[in-house]
């Protein structure tokens, strides 16, 4: 009984997920795309629950939905993409996208159909695997992930610093000159303009 419910749940979630993903890549309003993306990610959290990874589902909602999507919405706002209706991609580009994406999909499905997945390590997932996950992350033995965990924290720090540095590097003053030559912004361009006008 429960199996049937879970199976049905899988198919419903999968259908929703695929539809929402299609909406993400096709909608012309970028803010809506962000909302659809949020839906896809929520569906994924459901998948994680179905797969028995409760902690991961929580993290998915916390980090992805709560953090990354918000960040993306910020990006949308800061680049003033909200006001604009994004132009349709050109037909050629679309066709290229279809061909490549379909090619990839066919390729993958063909591969999966011909491959048999064997269970490598017998056993069942620990019922509450959050504790197991925590132990894995902090285990510095040969099976543990303490070092990658620490490296990851450095990566996040680097990304944060890098983000700040990149975002504030180019000021509008420096670029303004380049975009408006001929208005006497700099001596070099000014001199050039006068000679042109003089002749």
């Amino acid at each position: 009984m429960t199996t049937t419910v879970l199976t049905a749940l899988f198919y419903v979630l999968a259908a929703c997920s695929v539809l929402l993903a299609l909406a993400v890549v096709t909608t012309r309003r970028i803010l809506r795309a962000a909302v659809y993306l949020m839906g896809v990610l929520l569906m994924s959290a459901g998948f994680f629950l179905l797969l028995g990874a409760e902690f991961l589902a929580g993290v998915q909602i916390l980090v992805y939905v709560g953090g990354i999507v918000v960040l993306l919405v910020f990006a949308v706002m800061l680049t003033r993409s909200v006001e604009l209706l994004e132009d349709e991609p050109s037909i050629g580009r679309k066709l290229l996208g279809y061909v490549v994406a379909a090619g990839f999909l066919i390729m993958n499905v063909a591969l999966l159909a011909t491959t048999e997945f064997r269970v490598l390590r017998e056993g069942t997932l620990p019922a509450g695997n959050t504790a197991a996950l925590g132990r894995k992350l902090l285990d510095y033995g040969p099976q543990g992930y303490a070092l990658p965990f620490e490296v990851l924290s450095i990566l996040l720090l680097t990304a944060m610093i890098g983000g700040i540095v990149i975002a504030r590097k180019t000021g509008p003053v420096a670029t303004g000159k380049l975009e408006q030559p001929g208005q006497g912004g700099s001596d070099r361009f000014g001199a050039q303009t006068t000679t042109i006008q003089g002749s």
């Binding site: 580009r93 290229l96 996208g97 490549v100 090619g103 990839f104 390729m107 591969l111």
Partner: protein, 674 residues
């Protein structure tokens, strides 16, 4: 063998070439751009310092080995220069033996005096600083050549003197004739050096192979000589070792029935003949007079051109072992001495006459070496002796001619005349030099020439002896011809009328060289320079008894030469010379045009080489080689234009290519695995 108690200069012989070298760098890089005047002074002081070092070295060396003892060749300083294999290396360094000491003294002395003279002669010239830079470079290269302990270092310095000679001949590079002359000198000597290089390669190749076959004891001794069991097949001490030489003889005949040793030595001699302007390769030297006159004095009279003689002397034992090669040296030398002397009688350019006289005297030195043998090596001493004296009086003649040209502004002797009273010091010094080259007792030329003739007679080369005697007479004739025409009689041009004496800085070298031209002959050369140490030299030295049976006739022919010159040119009846010339007719013209050798070379190069060799090669180069290069360029350009269309700048297109490529790669992998 080691000598512990070497003097300071013997230990530091490397200073002698090093001083001009560092002066060259200093003057050329730092002083010349700032102050040409200072450049001249620094260059001159440096060469004078080198000269003083050379004197101290000579004193120390001949005290270490006093007369009557065997004089060893010392290598007080060397370093590994090139290493080919574990046991094959070339060590550069300095070699001190009697002839290198002699040459060092001559080169530094003449060079120092020429530097001093040039301060006056080149005064106000635009390339003043450049001139002294090249002069320093030349002095360094020549000293490097002289001290070379192996034939490879000698070859390198040989090319360096060639390069500096090229630079100095073409010093007035605005003049097309000077440019042409410098190119001619460079190409002719370069062509000759090709032979030299081939000879060096043959000697080195077999020298290395013999090392393994030598008896172990000797190999060890040789190894010690050439530092730590390492073969230096180019080392002179190795090449001239009797056992190595006997191995060479054992090689037997090689190509066309000529033994390999003879072939190698004739090739080496080809290089020597190029540098010393022996007969078929003589054409560059008269044209080289386009350079400044002090350069002609230093390079094309006293030092560089004797490098060929020096090379033959240095490898004399190898030449003597071959025998045939030595005969080539003797006959080419003798022929050149006559040939050049005859042309010298007809030339009107004072420097060209001196150039032909240089050729003639170089021929003298060469045949003196050629007639020497291992048992009667007097010719070896005589050749070095003549090199020594000739350097002084020929440099003096050139510098004197330079003073005349400076005063008259012309090279033509017929623009001069009556200069004896206006330029008394120049006149006196040039007269001394002229008498010296004519071989009049008691001046330098007499003794060395006498010794050469004695050596020819002693070794039963009667033909060469007679020829030498004849050349002595002709030499006296043409030298006094230019002397009478330029100093006696009355002025033949405006400049000659208003000529005045040269400045003191030019006269001092003249006077010093005049003194040297007088006393150089009294140096008992046999006690200093002789083959195989003291065994022969002291006994056969010419000064212990001048052979009057030879000296008498040679003085006699010189007197005849001078009288004929006086009769034709000095007595004020110039129509006599013209009538002689016209009565000789075609013969005179042929001689005056230098036997049409320049024309012959031009015919060969232009008509034969250019048309049948160079033109097809040029066509091939222009159409096939260049065409190939252009084709590859065209292909690259076209294909890159086509490919650049792919570079749309659209990152999404690139992404599509990337994903498509991954799919393709995956397909290939799949195909390979199943």
């Amino acid at each position: 063998m080691m000598f512990q108690n070497l003097g300071f200069m013997l230990n530091h012989t490397w200073l002698i070439p090093a001083i001009p070298f560092f002066s060259f760098l200093l003057v050329g890089l730092f002083i010349r751009p700032r102050s040409p005047k200072l450049a001249g002074i620094v260059a001159t002081v440096a060469v004078f310092a080198a000269a003083c070092c050379a004197y101290v070295l000579a004193w120390e060396y001949f005290h270490l080995f006093p007369a009557g003892t065997e004089r060893h060749a010392l290598v007080p300083w060397n370093f590994e220069w090139l290493r080919y294999q574990e046991h094959l290396a070339v060590r550069a360094g300095v070699l001190v033996d009697p002839i290198s000491v002699l040459l060092m003294v001559v080169v530094t002395t003449v060079s120092a005096l020429v530097h001093l003279y040039s301060i006056g002669y080149m005064h106000g010239d635009q390339g003043y600083g450049r001139y002294f830079t090249w002069l320093n470079l030349f002095t360094f290269s020549m000293l490097g050549l002289v001290v070379a302990p192996n034939i490879l270092q000698m070859y390198v310095c040989w090319e360096l003197v060639g390069a500096s000679s090229f630079l100095l001949i073409g010093f007035y590079y605005e003049k097309p004739s000077a440019v042409a002359a410098s190119k001619k000198a460079f190409i002719v000597t370069r062509f000759a050096d090709l032979g030299f290089l081939l000879g060096v390669i043959i000697l080195g190749y077999y020298g290395y192979h013999f090392f393994g076959e030598l008896s172990p004891a000797l190999a060890q001794q040789m190894g010690q000589y050439t530092a730590g069991g390492v073969v230096d097949p180019f080392d002179f001490a190795y090449l001239t070792h009797p056992e190595v030489l006997s191995k060479f003889v054992g090689l037997g005949t090689g190509f066309l029935g000529v033994s390999l040793l003879t072939m190698a030595m004739v090739l080496v001699y080809m290089g020597a003949a190029g540098k010393s302007a022996m007969f078929p390769l003589h054409i560059w030297l008269p044209d080289a007079m386009e350079g400044p006159t002090p350069v002609s004095a230093l390079i094309h009279a006293a030092t560089m051109v004797v490098a060929g003689v020096y090379l033959v002397a240095r490898t004399f034992l190898v030449f003597a072992t071959s025998g045939d090669a030595l005969m080539v040296v003797a006959y080419i030398g003798a022929f050149t001495s006559l040939f050049a002397a005859v042309i010298g009688c007809t030339q009107d350019d004072i420097k060209r006459v001196l150039a032909f006289s240089t050729l003639s005297q170089l021929g003298y030195m060469m045949f003196a070496l050629g007639v020497a043998t291992m048992d009667h090596p007097l010719g070896y001493t005589a050749s070095m002796f003549h090199l020594f004296t000739h350097a002084f009086f020929k440099a003096l003649l050139f510098l004197g001619a330079g003073a005349l040209i400076h005063a008259v502004h012309s090279n033509e002797i017929w623009d001069m005349g009556g200069l004896a009273r206006k330029m008394p010091i120049t006149h006196a010094t040039v007269l001394i030099a002229t008498l010296a080259i004519a071989g009049i007792w008691p001046l330098a030329g007499f003794f060395s020439k006498d010794e050469i003739l004695v050596s020819a007679l002693e070794n039963q080369h009667y033909g060469i002896f007679g020829l030498g005697l004849l050349v002595a007479g002709i030499t006296a004739f043409y030298m006094f011809r230019i002397y009478f025409v330029s100093f006696w009689g009355k002025a033949r041009s405006k400049h000659a009328e208003h000529a005045h004496e040269a400045p003191l800085v030019m006269l001092i070298p003249l006077m010093i060289l005049a003194v040297l031209s007088v006393v150089a002959g009294w140096v008992p050369m046999g006690e200093f320079v002789s083959l195989g140490g003291a065994s022969h030299g002291a006994a056969e030295g010419a000064h212990h008894g001048i052979n009057w049976a030879v000296a008498g006739p040679s003085l006699f022919v010189a007197a005849i030469g001078i009288s004929v010159a006086w009769f034709l040119y000095g007595s004020g009846h110039e129509e006599r010379s013209k009538s002689v010339a016209s009565s000789l007719g075609g013969v005179y013209t042929t001689i005056k045009r230098k036997f049409y050798f320049d024309e012959l070379y031009l015919f060969i190069t232009h008509k034969v080489v250019f048309r049948f060799v160079a033109a097809p090669i040029a066509w091939f180069d222009r159409h096939v080689v260049d065409g190939g290069v252009n084709l590859s360029g065209w292909i690259t350009r076209t294909s890159s234009t086509a490919l650049s269309r792919l570079q749309t700048g659209q990152v999404q297109t690139y992404g599509a290519w990337f994903v498509g490529g991954s799919i393709g790669a995956l397909l290939v992998l799949w195909h390979l695995m199943f």
